[in-house]
């Protein structure tokens, strides 16, 4: 059978892309002919920007008509550029066309805007619910991963529960690491004899990894550890502030280590193999691939009751409802007593002057990058040193067909081979000067 999957795909790094590559591999192993179409160019055979253009949706529809079956790994950004009412309404017919006329469309809902729909009784709300309900009923089948998500979908859109099937989240998951725990621990530098909790995934406020750190601080034993492993996926002030908090907590709480950096699929699994239990105190989630991977390797987990986590839980999973239960469950798993709270949940220390400046600068840089890409702030004269000019960036010539654009392109062709090395050299000198300046003020040897 020829199957088309519509989804993000590697090398894009997100949970759904990782999920899809496993689904595709499983389908191929079952003998199906699988093609993937991703919103952006990727390792998928096709790409079509179906969130931004109707043409993109129609391209997916054309591909779908050539397949026997179409699986859409749905989250709103896949098919809608924004949830702004006018744009949603404008793009909705194309998506409905795809769901209605696509060949045997199977919609797998990973995320949906439940909260913005539920309880809306005004006209706009009713129209919005009806539009979403239509999208959910047009496909051949619609599935979610957990009973909680099914309830949310029914409540938010009014769709009949019978229309929504349950699809095991980990049904297609493959093991990607050697299940030898001793070897994994050795390779990751974990000490034998210690009890290792693990919180792993992208570092984001809604993951609540800080809750796990605070809970660990209440365990009265030195051999219990918590490794927080992950990286920032999207830089934003909220996320950066959260990671700053994690760094500070990791420095304060004995037994906690924060491993910031990219985590490959294999390394992800190796961490799971190496740990004794996972701590997933999410504040907000639909369903968790991490929990499924923990189950794949037989590792127990402590999870909050957010989203569909309760439905995903198996006998080895402890579902907790607040921070006290979280600490108690971790203590029970590690076989240690609970001590008095060491850190108050709202405790916040005053930042040092340099720490505050660093955060302000980093956030300002993110904003600057958004509005004036490629530029940097003039060097600070805080130390009395001369300010350095921003780096030299040669602008790309315009793409248009007009005379002006053509002349600019010609000039660019004539001069770039001379200007580019000049700009590079100027930037090297600038960087050298900046390093010298930093070294001079930090007292480091040059």
């Amino acid at each position: 059978m020829k199957v088309l999957i519509v989804s993000p795909y590697p090398p894009d790094r997100c949970g759904i892309a990782s999920y899809t590559v496993q689904v595709a591999a499983t389908l191929r192993r079952e003998g199906h002919d699988v093609d993937v179409v991703s919103p952006q160019p990727s390792a998928a055979r096709y790409s079509a920007d179906c969130a931004r253009t109707v043409r993109g949706v129609l391209r997916v529809l054309a591909l779908s008509r050539r397949a026997d079956r179409t699986v859409v790994e749905f989250f709103p950004d896949l098919l809608f550029r924004t949830m702004r009412r006018d744009q949603f309404i404008r793009h909705w017919p194309a998506v409905a066309l795809l769901f209605g006329l696509g060949r045997r469309v199977e919609l797998v809902v990973h995320e949906a805007p439940y909260r913005s729909l539920v309880g809306r009784t005004d006209v706009r709300g009713r129209i919005g619910r009806a539009m979403w309900r239509t999208l959910l009923t047009l496909p051949h089948t619609t599935s979610v991963h957990t009973e909680w998500e099914r309830r949310q979908l029914v409540e938010a859109t009014g769709v009949s529960a019978d229309r929504i099937a349950l699809l095991g989240h980990g049904a297609s998951f493959l093991r990607r690491a050697d299940p030898d725990r001793e070897r994994a621990r050795r390779e990751l530098g974990l000490r034998e004899g210690d009890f290792h909790f693990l919180s792993i995934g992208f570092l984001q406020p809604h993951k609540g990894f800080d809750r796990g750190v605070r809970a660990l601080a209440r365990l009265g034993a030195g051999h219990v550890r918590l490794d927080v492993v992950g990286s920032i996926r999207v830089h934003s002030p909220d996320v950066e502030s959260h990671v700053e908090l994690l760094r500070r907590l990791a420095a304060e709480v004995p037994g906690v280590r924060l491993h910031e950096g990219y985590v490959s699929d294999e390394l992800f699994d190796r961490w799971i193999v190496a740990c004794d239990a996972l701590v997933l105190p999410y504040r907000d989630i639909w369903s968790s691939g991490v929990l499924e991977r923990a189950k794949l390797y037989g590792r127990p987990a402590v999870v909050s009751d957010a989203g569909g986590l309760g439905d995903q839980a198996d006998a080895s999973t402890r579902v907790v409802h607040d921070d006290d239960e979280l600490a108690a469950a971790m203590a029970e798993l590690a076989g240690v007593p609970l001590s008095e709270p060491a850190l108050q949940p709202q405790a916040a220390e005053a930042l040092s002057y340099d720490g505050a400046l660093e955060i302000v600068h980093r956030r300002a840089a993110a904003l600057r990058e958004r509005y004036e890409p490629g530029t940097v702030a003039p060097e600070s004269s805080r130390h009395g040193g001369p300010a350095l000019p921003p780096p030299v960036v040669l602008a790309a010539p315009p793409e248009g067909r007009g005379l002006r654009a053509q002349v600019k392109r010609a000039v660019d062709r004539l001069t770039r081979w001379e200007l580019a090395p000049l700009a590079a050299r100027v930037n090297e000198i600038r960087e050298y000067l900046a390093q010298q300046e930093r070294g001079r003020h930090s007292g480091q040897p040059r």
Partner: protein
Amino acid sequence: MGELGHGLRDRGWDVDVVTSAARDLYTWKNELPEGTSQEDGMCVTRFRTVVGTDRRARNRIGNRIGTGAPVPLADQYRWMNAGVRVPGMHEFLVDHAGDYRAILFAPYLFWTTFACAEIAPERSILVPCLHDEPEARLELFKPTFEGSRGILFQTEPERELAGRIFDLPPRTALIGSGVHPPASYDPEGFRARHGIQGDFLLFAGRREWGKAWPELLRHLDFANSHLPRPVPLVTCGVGEIGAVPPNVRVIDVGYVSDQERSDAMAAATVYVQPSARESFSRTIMEAWLAGTPVLANAAGAVVAWHCERSGAGLPYRDRYEFAESVRLLLDRPETRTAMACRGREYVLGNYRWPDVLARVERAIEEWT
């Protein structure tokens, strides 16, 4: 990598090759047949290349990367995925990576390595061919370097550079790169075929900015204006010659066979390596094997390292050192000869294929 594959096959390993159907690095046209075939005892599977259509974004982001300006991670992805992709190779490795004990990827900068090395990192061994360029510092490549099972470096400076940029995995090895000594050289034949008389400098490779071709012409222009007799520059390879300064005579012999290149190496008075972005520099090895001393850009850590270790090349830091090095090598044939002898010994002592293959074999056996 082809030589490596053949060498490992000859030593009893089952070697499969997965590659693209393209032949030309610049156009990436699918010129070779897709699918699986037996070539020289190896199973070779070729996949169709897909060239991104968003050239505008790629150029815009690429320009910023080239200047060393900060580029957001999302744009780094966009830049990478807007280039050449080989989705079929990705799919093949997703399905079959488990069939292999080790998968070697090279070089780091290509999408095939970037996207595919992370499919089964527990068996991915990277042969990065890294050199100091702005792209090497992109956050995009951290997973490739830091997540692979191990990394095979060609030189110590390459490993040091990687260590400065990335948190390297615990398994790295120095393997060098193999060079085949030609059966014979015909320097006089080369001169006769191309009508070249007297001393000349040789540059073999891609004539492009990244290889410092324009800088070489400028340096030679300066040198020739100070030498008693201007020395011509013979070049073979691809790329535009571009604007030639008044004091420089360039003789382009075009794209030549391996044997012809070896003859050119033997006929040259001095081989010039102006590129500072080399991860190994096979051409200076070929020059030394052919008995020709080397003049190399000292800004290139790798070539400077080779020159210092071998005592067979003069590194130059600016046009003044360039000119004086040329003068010295032209004036002192005995010095040239002594340097050339040391160079040949250096290559034969360090970079013979059997030695390289033994190091690769040892790494695979220990790491996987």
